[in-house]
Amino acid sequence: MSRTNAWIRIAFCRDIPLREGRAVRFGHRDIAIFNLGNRFLAVENRCPHKGGPLADGIVSGATVVCPLHAWKMSLETGQGVNGPSASSCVETFRTRVEDGVILLDVGDTKEDSESALSEELPPMCIEPSEIASMRDCPPPAEA
């Protein structure tokens, strides 16, 4: 039953504004994809706390804050990073960008967490000036 590298074409890069998330639903899956400027990250669109839509949260570095009760989840590891959320996690999904299109790996099994990071960035997604001002996202500090 296990399947890997099931890459599907999800959306155009331009559909997700910088530092925002969007929900995408197919089948029984509800996934939140975020535009962090230099990469797109995807997690399950369901906060482990009360099921809040993470795609509607405010992005803080490489974390997202659930709009319902402010649980903060890492978009890289899926781990909760503030007080009560720390022992919870959400599923993460690998992404990559091809010709201005975001692809998502919806294979049932995940590979190591490093692979959650996306590949090179196509020029059309982001202004060069914004790239210059980007900072590396440090690991979550509040664990």
């Binding site: 599907i8 559909d15 530092r19 995408v24 197919f26 089948g27 570095g61 319902l68 402010a70």
Partner: protein
């Protein structure tokens, strides 16, 4: 127990009683006060007038103090007779009270210069709390006020009136202001400063008459000139109140004569304060009175020993932004004296020292009084200044800006008013476990006079008490290490217009759910909507203009101004609810209709079908104005609250605020729409509106404070708008009006809104107008979304089967 009767419940009398209570034997104490107030700090009356302090904030000893010390307090009784043979005093209520010892602390009375027709409606003196209240009652923005007298009191009164919105002119008889404390140059610097603040100063003018028929219309000067005036304050000086001294047959010259032990010519009668004359001098400032009280307390309790040998005269002007200090002998023509001067006209700084035999004889500081403690100490101690010649005007800089408390000697005075030294404070900290400013005030009385030493007291506490915590400015969150106050300054001065820019330069580059919305609001407010709005920095509600619910659906609340709707509107709402299968339709507490359980993707379509503007029920912004039917239908209504409410809502809608703003307008004091528990409320009365602010009926219940009472609806709307913009500009993000008003104080709010100068008000309204101009109904984004996926659910580009 012997009976001590004190005549006078002012600062000198009560401070002396405080000292007496520290000695034994004990007395049975009775205090008579002709005012009806407990002992209060007279020096701070000008702060009450200027709205910096409330009445109850200047109380020195409350009723519980009198009770605790078993003092019989007789307020509102004026002592009119003293029988020094029979040892009794007679009150104007006919009471006769026996005494073993009598203490006269009758203070002084205002000096009224010989002016014709001085007894007119609108002429005030400024001496006690009742005078202050009468003035406050009378002064209105725009009134022309003339203050006769350019001394300490006159200038402070002038500033107070100006803060209240009056156009103020100070008329002074002498050639320069504060001529007893300043030289002509110093007076010139002071006059320039007053002018800068918008107060007109007329010098060398003798007022001869008050003009007007029954009511003040102007003042006339010697030589024939005159100026118009709506109110006149006479602050031409004081003279010792010595009538009881005469009654008692004491030796009286200008004041009741006392010796170095504070004894009068009668063995059982004593006097202290402004009513006495010691060594030819009558003192009118607080510090000498306190020194006298200490000596007198020893004498009267049979512990005679300490002597009063006169005080160094020192005065500080208490006007915010106008620093003036003067001490000792300040004239230019002292025998054998050397004068050292420094001035910087651009900075408005003037310093002058008089040296005599290598010691400081007097000092004047205008524009910067930070060094006044050093000079006071030199004056009191008679320090040999020859070795310090190079550091007379400017001390060797210490690392810390301001005065370094560590460098002060223990004998140096921290509180000049109450005569409290650094040593005394340190002793109190060590021996009595004092560790807050309030305890320090209670224990040593330091900082209970003019209050200008509170900073020094705090630094001292900080230096000595390890756990003392100064009030730290709070930062918004961990992303940015600045307070909101500082950030507003930074954004303004650095012309920053986007949240990310601020985070990159002043923060950690990332931001979080706390600072991002706060910065978004700040930018919107500062640039009046003319900034680069970054939706990613806003909460989801402000991205899709609806309130997110627990299941991720949204609620839709259209604007129904003043809660007034129509059959058509209701029908439309019903149709929309049907069409989109809205799970719940609910009447809200704000006289509106809430459609709950709406999918994000349905929002723009519903808004279009409704054709009504956004009610902003999802954001920190203008919610609504709840109204009653007022004069429209109600048989009790006295104001048209419905129209007023609708108009108020129309003027402020679509704007963002630090926290939600709920308003109310009621047509009579029955208050059916609960305006007095709203952030802003209009309460109609017969012929007027009360504008109230800072009410709450949520987590906290708070009755709103009265901002102002005005006659017309337009004035009420303007007052509401002034407060609204003032709140927008001054409150921290997520600070409701009720917390804001409590933090700032309603007096200050009034002073800076409805009682501000015409120019200030105009500026507030102009910024509000500009913001309003840049604002729009958020629901119009149904036609022009910010981005193609603002409301739509993303569908995968290819078919997937999972």
């Amino acid at each position: 127990m012997k009976k001590l009767v004190v005549v006078g419940n002012g600062m000198a009398g009560v401070a002396c009683v405080e000292q007496i209570l520290r000695h034994s034997p004990k007395f049975q104490v009775t205090i008579f006060g002709d005012e009806t107030h407990v002992n209060y700090n007279r020096i701070l009356l000008s702060s009450v007038l200027a709205g910096e302090k409330a009445d109850d904030e200047i109380v020195l000893n409350g009723l519980d103090w009198y009770r605790k010390n078993e003092i019989d307090l007789r307020l509102g009784v004026r002592i009119v007779g003293v029988d020094s043979q029979a040892h009794t005093v007679t009150g104007d209520d006919g009471s006769v009270t026996p005494f073993d010892k009598l203490l006269l602390a009758t203070g002084s009375v205002p000096l009224i210069p010989s002016i014709e027709e001085v007894k007119k409606d609108g002429v005030f003196v400024f001496r006690n709390l009742d005078d202050t209240r009468a003035l406050l009652e009378r002064c209105r923005p725009g009134l022309k006020a003339v203050v006769i007298g350019g001394g300490l009191l006159g200038l402070e009164a002038a500033r107070g009136l100006q803060v209240r919105g009056c156009e103020v002119t100070v008329v002074h008889l002498m050639e320069w202001l504060m001529e007893r404390q300043l030289d002509p140059t110093g007076g010139g610097y002071l006059a320039a400063k007053m002018n800068q603040m918008g107060i007109t100063v007329l010098l060398g003018l003798s007022t001869t008459a008050i003009l007007g028929n029954g009511k003040v219309e102007g003042v006339q000067f010697k030589g024939g000139g005159s100026i118009p005036a709506d109110l006149v304050v006479i602050a031409a000086g004081i003279r010792p109140n010595v009538s009881l001294g005469h009654e008692a047959g004491l030796e009286v010259k200008r004041g009741i004569v006392v010796n170095d032990y504070m004894e009068t010519s009668h063995p059982d009668i004593f006097a202290v304060g402004e009513c006495v004359q010691h060594n030819g001098i009558c003192y009118g400032l607080v510090a000498p009175l306190i020194e006298q009280g200490k000596v007198l307390a020893a004498t009267i309790t049979g512990n005679k020993g300490p002597r009063y040998e006169g005080s160094v005269l020192a005065a500080k002007l208490k006007i915010m932004g106008v620093d003036v200090f003067s001490a000792g002998e300040i004239g230019d023509k002292l025998d054998g004296s050397e004068v050292i001067r420094y001035e910087d006209p651009a900075l408005g700084v003037y310093r002058k020292l008089n040296l005599k035999n290598g010691k400081l004889a007097g000092a004047i500081l205008v524009g910067d009084t930070a060094d006044s403690h050093r000079y006071m100490d030199w004056l009191r101690s008679g320090k040999d200044l020859v070795p310090l010649r190079r550091q007379l005007l400017f001390p060797v800089p210490v690392e810390d800006a301001g005065i370094d408390v560590a460098q002060m000697a223990d004998s140096e005075t921290i509180c000049g008013c109450m005569g409290v030294t650094k040593g005394t404070i340190i002793q109190a900290i060590h021996e009595k476990g004092v560790n807050t400013l309030a305890q320090l005030k209670e224990c040593t009385r330091a900082s209970t006079g003019c209050g200008s030493c509170s900073g020094l007291c705090q630094s001292l506490l900080k230096a000595v008490v390890p756990e003392f915590e100064e009030e730290v400015k709070k930062t918004i969150c961990r992303c940015i290490s600045f307070s909101e106050d500082q950030l507003r300054d930074i954004l303004r001065s650095q012309q920053l217009k986007s949240v990310q820019e601020v985070l990159e330069i002043y923060g950690n580059g990332m931001g979080c759910e706390i600072c991002k919305p706060a910065l978004s609001y700040m930018l919107d407010m500062l640039w009046c909507g003319d900034h680069n709005e970054d939706r990613s920095a806003r909460f989801i509600n402000d991205r899709v203009h609806a309130n997110i619910q627990k299941d991720g659906t949204f609620s839709v609340v259209p604007r129904i101004r003043g809660g007034v709707t129509s059959p058509d509107e209701l029908r439309k709402i019903a149709d929309v609810a049907d069409k989109y299968r809205v799970p719940m339709v609910k009447i809200t507490g704000s006289q509106r209709i809430d459609l709950l359980g709406v999918k994000k993707s349905d929002l723009p379509k519903m808004w279009a079908d409704l054709g009504m503007p956004s009610g902003q029920a999802y954001t920190k912004g203008v919610r609504m104005v709840k109204t009653c039917v007022g004069t429209e239908f109600c048989r009790f209504g006295v104001q048209d609250s419905t129209s007023a409410g609708i108009e108020l809502e129309r003027r402020l809608e679509n704007l963002f605020t630090p926290h939600k703003v709920k308003m109310g307008a009621v047509g009579c004091p029955r208050n059916c729409a609960e305006a007095t528990v709203k952030d802003i409320g209009l309460v109609g009365q017969e012929g007027s509106w009360q504008v109230v602010v800072g009410g709450a009926a949520g987590k906290k219940v708070r009755k709103a404070d009265l901002l102002v009472t005005v006659e017309t609806t337009e004035e009420a709307l303007e007052a509401a708008a002034l407060f609204f913009q003032y709140y927008r500009e001054g409150a921290n993000y997520l600070e409701r009006t009720y917390d804001f008003v409590e933090r700032v104080g309603i007096e200050k709010v009034r002073k800076e809104t409805v009682y501000a100068t015409a120019a200030t008000k105009q500026e507030l309204l102009e910024r509000l107008r500009k913001s309003k101009e840049h604002s729009s109904d958020a629901w119009l984004e149904r036609d022009t979304p910010r981005n193609p996926t603002q409301f739509v659910q993303i569908q995968p580009l290819e078919e997937v089967f999972v």
